[in-house]
């Protein structure tokens, strides 16, 4: 048996876990610069995680096993998704485990259980966060799947590795349906990763929190795992976008040079995505929660237009 794909798999998951805090730091750094502040540096999120892991856990007196189980589950799901989405190479043993629909399902598990954790302690903030998160998710998911279906109709597969292959081999070049799907995907990714204008990751102002409200009661290593998983989620959505729309650079052949190139390409693309995210975040204000239906409706409309243009124009 060839060990190469398994080593690669391990490498990719490891790279995700390592790159995610750096990417979060990069976005934070750019944001500070764009707002004229001094940045805490690229390593600040990693230092935060390190500090949290060293701290003791303070657990609310009525927390059930669900509350303690959720951080590990959320983290495990993020690792698993990292093993499936091709970011360095398409030659992954785990890639056929899950196609795009399953990846959306994996994100849904993490969200489902985080929302339960929000309800577990019985505070008003937790419930508020859970309720809002599930509302946004239920509006974002149809748009997300429509965007994904548009791409998979173009490439004739729902498997990400196959999509990467077919786009790289030039079967699918830039098409009008892709343009719409990209727009839709960006809007949904902002919603799903909890960025402005949907949620503000930096806020601790009670009434505007969504994701933060659910995890208010976490501390110590539990909080560290959830925060880390959140950073990985940001990276994973970027990987998903890269694999579906800009896969050039992901290694298709088995040689070390291609792999090195793939890693360099990945870092470059992430850097560019970071710039994009910061431009959006500084350019827009956070929306009122009931305006989000319009925001996500627009995303859905874009995805639908993409699908229509696929049938009409292609």
């Amino acid at each position: 048996m060839n060990a190469y794909p398994y080593i690669l798999e391990f490498l990719q998951v490891f790279a995700l876990a390592a790159v995610a805090p750096l990417f979060a730091g990069w976005v934070k750094m750019l944001k500070c610069w764009s707002q004229g502040r001094t940045s805490p540096g690229l390593l600040q999120p990693a230092r935060d995680l390190h500090k949290l892991f060293a701290k003791d856990v303070l657990l609310a007196e009525n927390a059930s096993w669900v509350f303690r189980f959720v951080p590990y589950l959320v983290f495990g799901v993020a690792l698993l998704a990292g093993g499936v989405i091709p970011s360095l190479s398409v030659d992954l043993p785990l890639a056929p485990t899950a196609d795009v629909i399953v990846i959306v399902g994996l994100f849904a598990i993490a969200r489902f259980f985080t929302a339960l954790a929000g309800l577990d302690i019985g505070t008003a903030f937790g419930g508020m966060g859970s309720s809002r998160e599930m509302t946004i998710a239920s509006l974002a998911e149809p748009a997300m799947l429509m965007a994904i279906f548009t791409i998979s109709l173009g490439s004739g597969t729902t498997s990400l590795a196959q999509m990467v292959r077919s786009i790289q081999s030039g079967q699918v070049l830039l098409r009008p349906s892709f343009a719409f799907a990209i727009l839709a995907f960006v809007l949904i990714a902002l919603a799903e990763t909890g960025r402005i204008p949907v949620d503000n990751p930096a806020t601790h102002l009670e009434l505007t929190m969504i994701h933060e409200a659910m995890i208010l009661e976490y501390s110590g290593r539990h909080l560290a795992l959830i925060e880390w998983a959140g950073m990985m989620r940001l990276s994973l959505f970027s990987y998903l976008g890269i694999a579906a729309f800009f896969p050039w650079g992901i290694a298709v052949s088995r040689d070390m040079r291609a792999l090195g190139l793939a890693f360099a390409a990945l870092l470059l693309k992430l850097a560019a995505i970071g710039v994009g995210v910061v431009l959006i975040e500084t350019g827009l204000a956070k929306m009122r929660i009931f305006r989000l239906t319009e925001f996500l409706g627009t995303a859905f409309l874009m995805a639908t237009l993409g699908m229509l243009s696929f049938f009409i124009l292609e």
Binding site: F53, D56, N62, G105, A115, I121, G122, L153, M307
Partner: protein
């Protein structure tokens, strides 16, 4: 002697009927009656499930003619793979529910006689098995009525409550309107098939052979669809369902929601794919559209419920919708001779039927345990039950995860298959359908996301947080038989989620029978692990590896973090430093669903009132605020209330004839005789 599936099925039915009769004889010994009858029902269900499983596995068809029935029209039974599949659906859940009932029904002992429950429970099971096995229209309808009547008596088991009697009445009315439509459909098929010459046309075998003129076939199909849809609770005929299912004893609710609705699905599949065969594409489109409507609206209404069992009942409307989506797609594909895709879509629908039986059964059993322990159905007065009822909570969570279509559980498998079927719709030759059908996929995605929100609410408000109600000291976990029933259902949910390929391979006999082809998964080395319905390059999923991955990742992270001992100290709730937290400040079910209520508000009939009550002089500072909220089904006002009002009006007009005076009645008789004389000269 080899195992004869049809004989085994008959033995199961006879055992259940005998048990129903025996229960009356045993009504003095209530405790023994419960223990004995549910053990035997469990065994009979197991036998029925085994018969179905073997039949589907062999792909065999066998039939038998009984010495019962009308002259010229004997009852016939037939066990083919389709019937076998539904025998498994019914038998497996009936087995689990019977085990659960051993504990659950014991709760009634001392309060009321359970003889009626036992009698009708067994009749109900026997009725469902007979519906599936019937091979002629007459026996089918007899069995259908036994099932409907038995379930009516089960719904009104606790008949001292007015709402139970009302719900039972509503159920009976709609079930019979449906039954009339089914009767007419069979009449058309039998009469036009044989040219009204003999009774022979009433057997399903004759219907299979006859070719109906297409307009009559359409009429038969529409009538049958209407009749079965009324039973299945398809939108907008679902109104009885959220009334009747919650008020029945919970073990019966589990069977009604889990499998009784499936007999209607069976009827639709039987009529469309077996008796009428060549369907035009728009029959499939009708089923698809109603399926999508039921799915989306069912879950939106479920979200607004605060009665746990009502919520589950509305979610059955949703899941029946998802099953119908698969069947509708299969009919559309079949009409364009895309047999492979039809097989995929049909498998998706039937797989969801099986999955839904298991997880909805599990959830109703869980809700029953909660009701048993707390005497409460309203979620707003529960909370924190996970500490008091750890088993029930964990098993209910498995059901909630399965129904929310999250991998690696069984709900996700059928949903994934349905999505794959949707994605293959561009191979249809009609451009319009290529465009519109993928929109259905978006609605399905919306449904599954809303279902997740709905079950976060159901589980979170009921089991998590603090207890909101009054007395808590008597709340206890379910007994071991109840746990065993739920545990078996939960294990089946997981098993169907992790190992779908062997199940789908087993189900190939059904698609082979109905659409003439099978999916034929490549079952090579490790083939049982990979679900690749079309081609490995197109799409693949392995629930087993997702499960294994989580099973490895989570303990690994846990162990890594616990190498160095880190203390966990229990502290008071932080809540951003707020000190005076009370259980009443928790998010309630109503609050949880509020954002979605605002977004989809146009779909409900909402009456929301905020009234500042007493205020001491200053109206700006009311001492108390009254808030009332009522959310109702719009369908009631749109479809049912007018019909009900019209029938009352009509009855009142007709009632004018009854004046109570003998003279007028004599005149009526006289006029009648005159009219008859004129017409029947």
């Amino acid at each position: 002697m080899s195992f004869e599936p049809l004989q085994a099925g008959c033995v199961a039915i006879i055992a259940l009927l005998a048990l129903a009769a025996l229960a009356i004889a045993l009504q003095r010994a209530q405790r023994f009656l419960v223990a004995f009858s549910f053990v035997v029902s469990a065994l009979a269900s197991l036998l029925a499930a085994a018969a179905g499983a073997v039949c589907v596995g062999r792909g065999s068809v066998s039939s038998v003619t009984l010495l019962l029935g009308l002259p010229d029209l004997p009852f016939t039974l037939r066990l083919d793979p389709l019937a076998g599949f539904f025998l498994v659906v019914i038998g497996v859940l009936a087995l689990f529910v019977s085990i659960y009932s051993l504990g659950y029904v014991r709760g009634y002992l001392g309060h009321r006689s359970v003889t009626r429950l036992v009698v009708f429970y067994n009749l109900f099971l026997a009725g469902m098995l007979m519906v599936v096995l019937a091979n002629d229209a007459l026996f089918f309808l007899v069995a259908w009525e036994i099932m409907a009547a038995a379930s009516y008596f089960l719904v009104i088991f606790e008949d001292e409550r007015v709402e139970n009697r009302r719900a039972g009445f509503l159920y009976l009315v709609i079930a019979h309107i449906g039954a009339v439509a089914i009767l007419l459909a069979f009449g058309i098929m039998a009469g036009l098939g044989t040219g009204f010459s003999s009774f022979g046309g009433y057997s399903f075998d004759a219907m299979r052979q006859s070719a109906l003129p297409s307009s009559w076939a359409t009429a038969a199909f529409l009538l049958a669809f209407f009749g079965f849809a009324a039973k299945a609770g398809v939108f907008p005929l679902h109104v009885w369902l959220p009334e009747a299912h919650p008020v029945a004893p919970s073990n019966v609710s589990a069977l009604m929601s889990g499998v009784m609705l499936k007999t209607a699905i069976y009827g639709i599949v039987r009529v469309a794919f077996d008796l009428l065969r060549d369907c035009p594409w728009w029959w499939g489109a009708i089923i698809l559209v109603f399926g999508l409507l039921s799915a989306v609206l069912g879950v939106l209404y479920a979200l607004m419920q605060n009665d746990l069992k009502r919520l589950l009942a509305y979610s059955s409307v949703e899941n029946i919708g998802i099953v119908l989506v698969g069947i509708g797609l299969a009919m559309i594909f079949q009409s364009f001779d895309l047999h492979m895709l039809a097989a995929l879509a049909l498998t998706a629908g039937l797989y969801h039927a099986l999955s839904h039986a298991l997880f909805k059964g599990l959830l109703f059993m869980g809700a029953g345990s909660v009701l048993h322990a707390t005497g409460e159905r309203n979620m707003e007065r529960m909370g924190g039950l996970i500490h008091r009822m750890p088993w029930t909570a964990a098993l209910f969570l498995v059901g909630a995860v399965s129904i929310s279509a999250l991998p690696p559980f069984n709900g996700f498998v059928s949903e994934w298959l349905t999505f794959q079927a949707f994605l293959l719709s561009p191979s249809l030759p009609v451009p319009m359908m290529k465009l519109l059908i993928p929109m259905g996929a978006a609605l399905l995605a919306l449904t599954s996301a809303l279902a997740a929100a709905c079950f976060v609410k159901a589980f979170g408000v009921t089991f998590l947080g603090h207890w909101r109600g009054g007395e808590l000291s008597q709340v206890h976990d379910a007994g071991w038989t109840m746990r065993a029933g739920m545990l078996l259902a939960a294990i089946s949910c997981l098993a169907l989620g992790i190992f779908p390929p062997p199940v789908i391979d087993w189900m190939d006999a059904v698609t082979q029978q109905l659409v003439g082809t099978k999916i034929g998964l490549p079952l090579g080395a490790f083939g049982w692990l990979w679900l690749t319905p079309v081609a490995a390059q197109r799409a693949s999923y392995s629930g087993g590896i997702v499960f294994l991955g989580l099973l490895v990742c989570i303990p690994a992270v846990y162990l890594l973090l616990h190498i160095r001992p880190g203390a966990i100290s229990r502290v008071p709730i932080w809540d951003c430093g707020f000190e005076k937290l009370t259980p009443r400040m928790q998010y309630t079910g109503t609050a949880f669903a509020m954002p979605l209520r605002r977004i989809f508000g146009f779909l409900y009939r909402i009456r929301e009132r905020v009234r500042p009550a007493a205020h001491a002089g200053q109206s700006a500072y009311p001492a108390r605020i009254r808030y009332s909220l009522r959310i109702r089904d719009r369908v009631w006002g749109w479809c049912y209330a007018p019909v009900a009002r019209a029938s009352f009006l009509l009855a009142r007009q007709v009632g004018r004839l009854q004046q109570g005076r003998i003279q007028s009645y004599l005149i009526y008789s006289f006029v009648t005789i005159l009219v008859l004389l004129v017409f029947l000269r």
